[in-house]
Every structure is written in structure tokens, then in C-alpha cells.
């Protein structure tokens, strides 16, 4: 295993060769924002919040999907990045019906936390107010498409860790939706094992355990990484 050294926000940092910029930064105490990334799942570089600047190139890099390189100079926060992140969040809030005040995930929502962190106090774009459905046909869980940000954490958790591949994405562009099986009600799914990993992975209130109160919406995201470590590295400590 080779060790690389790089600079993150002016701080000299060492990282394992296979680490991504996001992991290396976090070990050095720099928390790069991200919504689609979660420990234990393959990064997809979809939310674009983790974009960072790299010295010597004008192109922004997705920190979750870019491996560290020797001598890299990374800037994780700048006025430009801050503005872009804020705009991404505004686009997300305008895209579907995110109304924190009536959301069961209020105060336990990564989208909400991210908006607070970036000082996003209003949305400069037109709200689309799409008509979206809620599927509570499953006996324990439910999905509210109004709150989905299409991070595909559920899809990856179900495919990579549970191995059931109940979740997938249908349609494209704004018409994209996460679906269960062949776009049938979740309750009719033959493949769902009701393991609840998607519930733990979901960053917003989109996938939830039915009957949970606002106070009970705390999720255990570290469970995904724990399972991966236990299986692949035989590490059983948290």
C-alpha cells in the first residue's frame, strides 16, 4: 500500500493510495459536503456538492470519486464553490416538494442540514411543484417521492449490500423516479427482503418507517459501512 501526500486547504495531508479526496479530507478534519455519498457504498459523483478545486486545472473534481494523487493541491471551499453548492441546493428544493415544517424527517434530514450549513435562506428559482405519489403499500416502510432527491443511496444499498436489487431508477431527467422491482407497488415486491437498509441510507424523509414520529427518525448510516467492513475486512468493531 502506497502513501500519497497532498495539500487540502493549505494543510499537508497523507492518504492511502486508494483513498478518495473526500476520505482523505475527512481524516484531516475537513468535512466536504455531499449528499449522494455515504460510507460503504460505491460513490457515483451525482450530487456535485463535493466538487473541489484543484490547483493547475480549471475543471472541478468530484471529491467522492477522485482518487488522491501525489502533490495534489485541493481547495475545498471558495466563494465560487460556495455559490455553486448553494445553487445546487436551491435547484433541489425547487425540483420537488420539500416542506420541512410538515416533514417527518425535520431535524434529521441531510438536505435540510446542508441548506442550513450553506446559508440557503431562500430559493431563487421557480418551484416546479410536481404532482408526486406516496407509496405506503409495504407493511413496514413507505416512500414519499415528494422528498426524494434521487441520490440513489437506496438503489446502491439494496444492490450492493443486501443483494436484492429491489430499487432501481426509471425514466430520465426530471421524470426520473426510484422504483421498486418493475415499477410495481413496494408492497407487491417479490425481491424486497424488508431489511430496511434503504431506510437507513435515505438522506431525507423520502424513505421512512411507517408510524415513526419526528423524534424517531434518527437513522443509523454507519450501519452500511459496518456491514461492508465486517464482510470484506472481517472487522466487527464499529
Amino acid at each position: 500500500m502506497a502513501i500519497k501526500t497532498l495539500t487540502i486547504d493549505g494543510q499537508l495531508v497523507s492518504a492511502r493510495e486508494e483513498d478518495t479526496i473526500l476520505v482523505a479530507a475527512r481524516e484531516a478534519g475537513v468535512n466536504i459536503p455531499a449528499l449522494c455519498y455515504v460510507d460503504g457504498l460505491t460513490p457515483v459523483g451525482a450530487c456535485r456538492l463535493c466538487l473541489v478545486e484543484q490547483q493547475g486545472t480549471n475543471r472541478l473534481q468530484a471529491a467522492c470519486a477522485t482518487k488522491v494523487q501525489e502533490g495534489m493541491e485541493i481547495v475545498t471551499n471558495s466563494p465560487r464553490l460556495h455559490e455553486y453548492r448553494k445553487m445546487i441546493l436551491e435547484l433541489l428544493f425547487a425540483e420537488r416538494n420539500h416542506i420541512c415544517a410538515v416533514c417527518v424527517a425535520n431535524n434529521h434530514c441531510e438536505l435540510q442540514d446542508m441548506a442550513v450549513r450553506h446559508g440557503m435562506d431562500h430559493v431563487r428559482f421557480e418551484y416546479l411543484y410536481p404532482q408526486l405519489s406516496v407509496d405506503v403499500s409495504h407493511e413496514q416502510f413507505g416512500i414519499d417521492h415528494n422528498r426524494c432527491i434521487l441520490c440513489t443511496r437506496c438503489v446502491r444499498a439494496c444492490h450492493e449490500i443486501e443483494g436484492a436489487h429491489t430499487w432501481d431508477v426509471s425514466g430520465r431527467g426530471v421524470r426520473a423516479r426510484v422504483i421498486t422491482d418493475m415499477n410495481q407497488p413496494w408492497g407487491d415486491s417479490d425481491t424486497c427482503t424488508s431489511c430496511g437498509k434503504c431506510v437507513q441510507a435515505c438522506p431525507t424523509g423520502a424513505i421512512f418507517r411507517q408510524g415513526s414520529t419526528v423524534a424517531e427518525m434518527e437513522r443509523d448510516r454507519s450501519m452500511l459501512q459496518f456491514l461492508v467492513n465486517a464482510r470484506e475486512k472481517k472487522q466487527w468493531n464499529v
Partner: protein
């Protein structure tokens, strides 16, 4: 089949041709104008006159001047008939014996034809796409045989590098460098992929090449396979091109039968098989990582690069992805040499480029010119200019490109010059617009295209294009304020810099380039600021404070 047999077959095919040849276009454009019936009637008419031994009637690929189709050309008299209908068949055959057919004739020596040069399209309109013998008679598969017999794989790559060929899909990456990257990766398996998922509005270059001369692309792929050490190739064709798919299937079958594809090609220990994969109608599958995902049976969405396909491609193996036109250039370079190819074009952009000239222009159709030719030459001399009115702008590069205004038409068409103007070469769509075209509406058309075609994976492209389209609509409807214009520009910059793949990164280009050259069309529609809105009436503070009354 060895080279000797290849030569013999070509000679036999050439000798068997009668003196007179009637070529009828059977590419998609003319077929949609009923050219199949014209071809059948021509054959009947020749038979009825008892001329089968003297006249050959053949269905060929695109004869280029699509707007005048169905086209029929008679050799060696060089007579071009336009807008031919089945009833014209008998008079056309009658005219072979002297006299006039009384059918609209075009001039094969007119600027539209005379000013073009043919490298990629040299067989197009001459060979019969569904007969491999016809391609072999035009020196087909000679380049493959030459490469296999006389060149080391490294020499083939050197030849391509020295030719200066660059990717014809739009980005213009040096082809030789790409090939050598794939060649240098040591792997148990490698793949060649031909990107034929042409989806830009107004572009049909790749379709025409595949429908007119499919073997040239197959030969180019086989040479690439030999050069980089791959033994399997895929052609990813969009499902909207059924004729191209059909002709490729026939072509692959014929080449396999003749030992020009498959195992032990040219009786040498080199194997190369080609399979067709049919796209299901997603524009984003033209992006190479999405294309590979689609070939592997996954959802066609792009992935972050690096790793590049040359390192980790199909099923994790090194994969070479090139466009149809890039592969179609390869046999010519091997056969005629890198120096010949490098002699065409400009210093940094070598060779020719096929364009699809469409829109408000007299001659619409397929055009091939050396790189570095000015846009004005293409639009006004070859295209014949606007039929009514003045050229206002030329749109190049489809939804990823931009609009170049009339006063900059002297710009040479090469990768760097077009990029400097905020457009791109793209795959070769060229849409001419006149003063009746509203540039904001044009920008919105392309934005709506990108919005519909966004895969939905990354947020800037999925949600940003929707907002951009709404802002453009607001401007067109005259509801926009100055802040909306600023917001439009800011959002364009953000979508460009933060999107995951080329689709999103270039989606704002049509807006940015029309803002750059036709800003007045945006500004003139902006609603003037009202001088502050009327102040709401605030009720006078009442004596009983402490009771909060909001209104």
C-alpha cells in the same frame, strides 16, 4: 481470403460491369421519397428494353443532394436526375439511347458537388452497400490486408498518429494517442467500440456513412483491433436507424463468410468479431461511459472519468471508443499513407469533415470538405446561400454547440476556431438560420432537447436545464426582469462547470453563444423595472399596544 484473392475478386467485379451504369440512391432520405420503387421500375424498364447486358442498375448509398431526392445518376454520361418518380423510369432508360428524358436534371459539376472533396465519402454513392464485392472492387479491405501482412501493430498506430487524425465525434482527441493508450495497457482482453449513437438534431452524417458504405467502418474497426490488440468489437447504433442496422448486419455476415472478419482473418492468426448493439433512444448513450454501460446491459448513465475507457472500459477491460467517421477515415490512411492525409486540412486539424447542411439553405444534404474551409464557403458557395433572405447565423455542434453570426462566417472550420467562438465542431450538424429565426427560441429549442435527454443522474443537468428552459420561456413571453437575465447567465455558468458529463457541461452552450452574439434579442424582451411597487398601507399604530394585528 488472402490479398491475391482479394485483388482477383475486385477485378472480376470490375470486369463484369457493363459500360452503362444507372445508380439510384437507396439511403434513408431518398428511400423515404420512394426511391425503392424508382429502382425497381428502372430495373423493369431496362429488362423491357432488353438492355440487361449493356446497362447495370444498382442501388447505392447517399448521392448527397438530399433536398432534391430521389436522385438517380447515369454513368459515364454524368447525368444527374432529381426528384425522380417511378413513372420517370422508362424515359430515363429511353434517354440512354439518345434524346432527353424530360426529367429534372441537376448538374453534377455544380459548386455543390465540384467544391467538395471526398475521403470518408469517396465510395458513398458508388458502391452498393449490400454487396461486399462492390466494396472490394473499390479497393475495399486492401488496407486491412496490407496492415495485417506488412505492418506491426505499433506501425499502424504510428501511421494514424502521423496522419494527425482527430476524433470525429466532436471533442477532437488525437486518435493515434487514444489507440496507443489502449495498446499499452496489458490486459487479457480488449474491446473496440464504434459509437454510432448519432443523436444531434439535424445530424445524419454517421447514418449516411453506415447506410452507404458500411464495410469501410467494419474495415476501420478491424484495423483498430489489430493495432491495439483487441479481438472483439461492438457497434452501438441507435435504434432509430433501422436501415443502417440492416446493412451492418448484412455487411458483417458477408465479411465473416469471406474471412475478412471472424477468425483467422486473411488466413493470418488474427481474430476479430463484431457485434451490433442497438440503442433504445437515449441521447446520453452517445457519451462514452453511458454507451458502455448500455452495452453491458446497465442503465445508460455516465460515470465520472477517470478512469477512462482506455484503462477501464467494458467489463473493466481497456476499451477503444471511436466515432463512425473516425473509423471510416482509417482504411484510407493505411492505404494511401499518413502523409497524404496530413496534406489535407490545417496545421492542427487534418483531413476532411462530413457535415450535414440543413436549415434555411438552398442545397441541403451531405457535404464533405477539408478542415479549415470557411463557414461562408460551405454555406454560400456549396450550400447556395439562403433561398429567401440573408443568412443570420449558422448553428454547429447540435445541442452542445453554438450559433455563429453572419459576420464571423469567414471563420475556418477547425476544432480550435469553433471552440474559440463558444461553439464546437461536434459531430457535424450545420443548421443555417435566416433573419426570421428568433435566436432566443433557438436557444430554448436546444435547451428543451437537453432537458428531455438529461439522464437525471446529476442535479445541475437534471434540475438546472429545467430552470434554464423556464427562464428562457419567461424571456420569450416578455415576463422576465433584468434579474432573470442575470440568473440565466449565472445558472448557465454553474451547469457548465458542475455537471457530471459532456451533455450537461455543454448544454448551456447554445444559450451562452446566442447571449454573446445576439444579446440584444434577449435584452429587448426584458420588462423594464417598475419604479418600485406601490407601498402597502400600514395601519396606524393603535393605542392598545401588545395586541399583534398583522393586517
Amino acid at each position: 481470403m488472402d490479398r491475391h484473392e482479394l485483388h482477383e475478386l475486385g477485378d472480376k467485379e470490375r470486369r463484369s460491369r457493363p459500360r452503362l451504369r444507372i445508380r439510384c440512391c437507396t439511403a434513408a432520405g431518398c428511400l423515404s421519397a420512394n426511391s425503392q420503387a424508382v429502382l425497381d421500375k428502372l430495373k423493369h424498364a431496362v429488362a423491357a428494353q432488353g438492355l440487361e447486358d449493356e446497362v447495370e442498375v444498382c442501388g447505392v448509398g447517399c448521392l448527397r443532394l438530399c433536398c432534391e431526392g430521389p436522385l438517380v445518376q447515369v454513368d459515364p454520361q454524368e447525368v444527374l436526375y432529381q426528384k425522380v418518380s417511378p413513372e420517370h423510369a422508362t424515359p430515363i432508360v429511353g434517354a440512354l439511347l439518345g434524346g432527353s428524358a424530360g426529367v429534372t436534371q441537376g448538374d453534377p459539376k455544380s459548386p455543390f458537388f465540384a467544391l467538395q472533396s471526398s475521403v470518408v465519402l469517396d465510395n458513398c454513392g458508388f458502391v452498393e452497400p449490400e454487396r461486399i464485392e462492390s466494396y472490394i472492387a473499390a479497393d475495399g479491405y486492401q488496407a486491412l490486408a496490407h496492415a495485417l501482412h506488412e505492418m506491426e501493430p505499433g506501425e499502424v498506430i504510428d501511421e494514424i498518429t502521423r496522419s494527425g487524425l482527430r476524433g470525429r465525434g466532436g471533442a477532437g482527441y488525437p486518435t493515434g494517442v487514444k489507440w496507443s493508450m489502449v495498446a499499452k495497457h496489458a490486459a487479457a482482453r480488449k474491446y473496440i467500440v464504434c459509437n454510432a449513437d448519432e443523436g444531434d438534431p439535424g445530424a445524419f452524417m454517421n447514418r449516411s456513412v453506415l447506410e452507404s458504405d458500411p464495410h469501410k467502418v467494419l474495415e476501420g474497426m478491424a484495423i483498430a483491433g489489430y493495432a491495439v490488440g483487441a479481438s472483439h468489437g461492438y457497434i452501438y447504433v441507435r435504434g432509430e436507424y433501422p436501415l443502417a442496422i440492416e446493412r451492418l448486419k448484412i455487411g458483417i455476415k458477408q465479411a465473416n463468410k469471406m474471412g475478412l472478419l471472424g477468425s483467422r482473418i486473411c488466413s493470418l492468426p488474427f481474430d476479430f468479431t463484431i457485434d451490433i448493439r442497438i440503442g433504445a433512444g437515449a441521447f446520453v448513450c452517445g457519451e462514452e461511459t453511458a454507451l458502455m454501460a448500455s452495452i453491458m446491459g446497465e442503465r445508460g448513465t455516465p460515470k465520472p472519468r477517470p478512469p477512462f475507457p482506455a484503462e477501464t472500459g467494458l467489463w473493466g477491460y481497456p476499451t477503444l471508443v471511436n466515432n463512425v467517421e473516425t473509423f471510416a477515415n482509417v482504411p484510407g490512411i493505411i492505404r494511401r499513407g499518413a502523409a497524404w492525409f496530413a496534406g489535407i486540412g490545417t496545421e492542427k486539424s487534418k483531413g476532411t469533415k462530413v457535415f450535414c447542411l440543413t436549415g434555411k439553405v438552398k442545397n441541403t444534404g451531405l457535404v464533405e470538405v477539408p478542415l479549415g474551409t470557411s463557414l461562408r464557403h460551405i454555406v454560400e458557395d456549396i450550400g447556395g446561400g439562403c433561398p429567401d433572405g440573408k443568412v443570420k447565423a449558422v448553428q454547429t455542434g447540435g445541442p452542445s454547440g453554438g450559433c455563429i453570426p453572419e459576420d464571423l462566417l469567414d471563420t475556418p472550420v477547425d476544432y480550435e476556431s469553433l471552440t474559440a467562438l463558444g461553439s464546437i465542431m461536434g459531430s457535424g450538424g450545420m443548421i443555417v438560420m435566416d433573419d426570421k429565426n428568433d435566436m432566443v427560441d433557438v436557444a430554448r429549442f436546444f435547451m428543451n432537447f437537453c432537458m428531455d435527454e438529461s439522464c437525471g443522474k446529476c442535479i445541475p443537468c437534471r434540475a438546472g436545464t429545467v430552470q434554464l428552459s423556464r427562464l428562457l420561456t419567461k424571456i420569450i413571453d416578455g415576463r422576465a426582469l433584468n434579474e432573470d437575465l442575470k440568473r440565466l447567465e449565472a445558472l448557465c455558468g454553474m451547469v457548465k462547470e458542475t455537471s457530471l458529463c459532456g451533455l450537461g457541461q455543454t448544454a448551456p452552450n447554445p444559450v451562452l453563444s446566442t447571449l454573446r452574439f445576439f444579446r440584444h434579442e434577449y435584452v429587448s424582451r426584458i420588462k423594464p423595472p417598475t419604479n418600485g411597487r406601490p407601498k402597502p398601507k400600514v395601519p396606524a399604530a393603535s393605542a392598545d399596544d401588545g395586541v399583534y394585528t398583522p393586517f
